[in-house]
């Protein structure tokens, strides 16, 4: 096919338009406000495994760094702290060096936040959205621990790094030696578990190890302590990631500092902490739950294709 032509068929582009309008209808009915936040901003995420695109703003003799957002999360939390109430956004997000059959460096996220919800409430609403737009069956829910026990007969909390590597070896996985237990657990999840998840009905995987909390609240009273985070899987594909949001500014600041330390250890560029977000949390982020869904992947699943470029007007190589 010629390079000037779209990557997606016209029917997939029509499908996108239809899904976008159904999503908006879904949130309008629930009085969730649609918002727009900047795509270019002066701060970006400190995550060890997310690389931002960076550009320069010229202001006379001065130059300032701006980053393409990797998700609208920080800006939306600042709106929540300002008293916006429930909000949703459909926006472009960008992640450097992430290209593959299910990754386009520029992609579309549907992200929404619900003050007063915890992660269970938000999973219920996500389930309704999936059923309404994609006609899926009611979702199944399993904890991170259960899914490892059911599919691999391993306990993710009690197994040692050596036991997990031994398991990978027994499965002839041929993977690099990983010193970090979370990295190895994630690899076992992507290689051995994910392909089996969410085939008959969507699967909500929830309660992650606290070391994989990201921006989720941690429940210290459960045994073991868990991060109140969930992921959604449909037909073996990770579709969404949600949190009962961390609202404590001090803990948030500490997690950012930990990210910075890890980036430094791995020789990656240091990213300044977004103090505007910290200030918003200090002002008071209402207790809330939020989730981001990869819209292109969802379209790919609805359209029953295997490659994300088949639902993008012009995928990375043709953009």
């Amino acid at each position: 096919m010629e390079q000037w032509q779209p990557s997606a068929s016209l029917s997939h582009l029509r499908l996108r338009a239809q899904v976008l309008s159904q999503i908006r209808q879904f949130f309008i009915e629930r009085q969730v406000l649609e918002v727009e936040t900047p795509i270019l901003s002066q701060h970006t995420v400190t995550d060890l495994h997310i690389d931002s695109f960076k550009t320069l703003y010229h202001q006379g003799q001065q130059q300032r760094n701006y980053y393409l957002q990797t998700s609208p999360e920080y800006a939306m939390k600042r709106l929540l702290a300002a008293g916006s109430g429930p909000i949703f956004q459909i926006s472009k997000a960008f992640r450097n060096s992430e290209e593959g059959s299910r990754h386009n460096p520029e992609f579309t996220l549907l992200e929404w936040y619900r003050p007063g919800f915890n992660h269970f409430d938000l999973m219920n609403e996500m389930d309704e959205l999936l059923q309404t737009v994609a006609n899926t069956l009611p979702a199944e829910r399993l904890t991170y621990q259960e899914v490892f026990q059911h599919t691999l007969h391993l306990d993710p909390y009690n197994s040692t790094l050596a036991q997990l590597h031994l398991y990978a070896q027994q499965q002839s996985l041929n993977i690099p030696y990983l010193e970090n237990k979370d990295a190895l657990l994630q690899l076992l999840l992507t290689h051995c578990i994910e392909p089996q998840l969410g085939h008959e009905r969507p699967l909500f995987l929830y309660h992650f190890p606290t070391s994989q909390a990201a921006l989720a609240k941690i429940n210290q009273t459960s045994v073991p302590a868990v991060a109140e985070r969930f992921e959604v899987y449909i037909r073996g594909i990770e579709l969404a990631n949600g949190f009962h949001e961390l609202t404590d500014p001090t803990e948030q600041f500490n997690r950012f500092e930990t990210d910075q330390r890890l980036r430094h250890q791995q020789g990656k560029t240091t990213i300044d902490i977004d103090m505007r977000l910290i200030q918003a949390l200090q002002q008071g982020l209402p207790p809330c739950a939020g989730v981001a869904l990869g819209l292109d992947r969802w379209l790919m699943l609805i359209a029953n294709t295997n490659r994300v470029d088949e639902v993008l007007s012009f995928a990375w190589e043709r953009a």
């Binding site: 495994h49 299910r102 993977i175 992507t190």
Partner: protein
């Protein structure tokens, strides 16, 4: 030495792993939303054609495999090696049974083949796509049966056995597609 980063991985790229040359068959970028990125790669060992699956941390680099394809003329077989020559340099290469592989059953002296070299060592031989060879052994031809319907085995001068139409006889020459091993047409010898 040239190295390739996992970001540059694509089907067909040739890299060295543990001292052996490999061609990438499939490359899948795997990255959990909140985790480390990996490349899950399916590779073919170019020495023995075995398929290997391996996961690399994204960002890792691997050395290129020094692989070139050279046109060479087949000279003769001494019972152990198949001898080839690069026409314009007269440089000769002795190719062993493993590297010659299936190509041997199509080779007639003077034929020009594509020989794949790894660090100047022959890895594989691709015969010409089409060859004209003489039938040396087959059941007698059925006269008048030139239409479709029925075929028989015929042994060719190079040792290959192909299915041919019933009307052909020993001594006839035929054109064969070496990629499929199928008879194409009758040919002049």
């Amino acid at each position: 030495m040239t190295t390739y980063n996992t970001n540059e991985f694509r089907a067909g790229l040739k890299i060295t792993i543990d001292g052996d040359p490999y061609a990438i068959v499939e490359n899948e970028f795997v990255k959990p939303g909140k985790g480390q990125a990996f490349n899950r790669v399916k590779l073919r060992n170019l020495k023995n054609s075995r398929i290997l699956e391996r996961t690399f941390k994204s960002g890792e680099s691997l050395p290129e495999a020094d692989i070139i394809e050279v046109e060479m003329q087949y000279l003769y077989n001494d019972g152990e090696f198949w001898h080839f020559m690069v026409p314009h340099t007269f440089e000769q290469h002795a190719i062993n049974k493993i590297a010659i592989g299936e190509a041997k059953k199509w080779l007639k002296e003077q034929d020009v083949c594509a020989v794949t070299l790894w660090n100047n060592e022959p890895l594989t031989v691709d015969p010409p796509n089409f060859v004209v060879l003489k039938i040396v052994e087959t059941d007698p031809g059925v006269r008048g049966d030139t239409a479709a319907g029925g075929s028989k085995a015929a042994k060719l001068e190079t040792g290959a056995v192909v299915r041919v139409p019933l009307f052909l006889n020993e001594g006839d020459c035929i054109k064969v597609d070496t990629r499929t091993g199928e008879y194409l047409s009758r040919a002049k010898g």
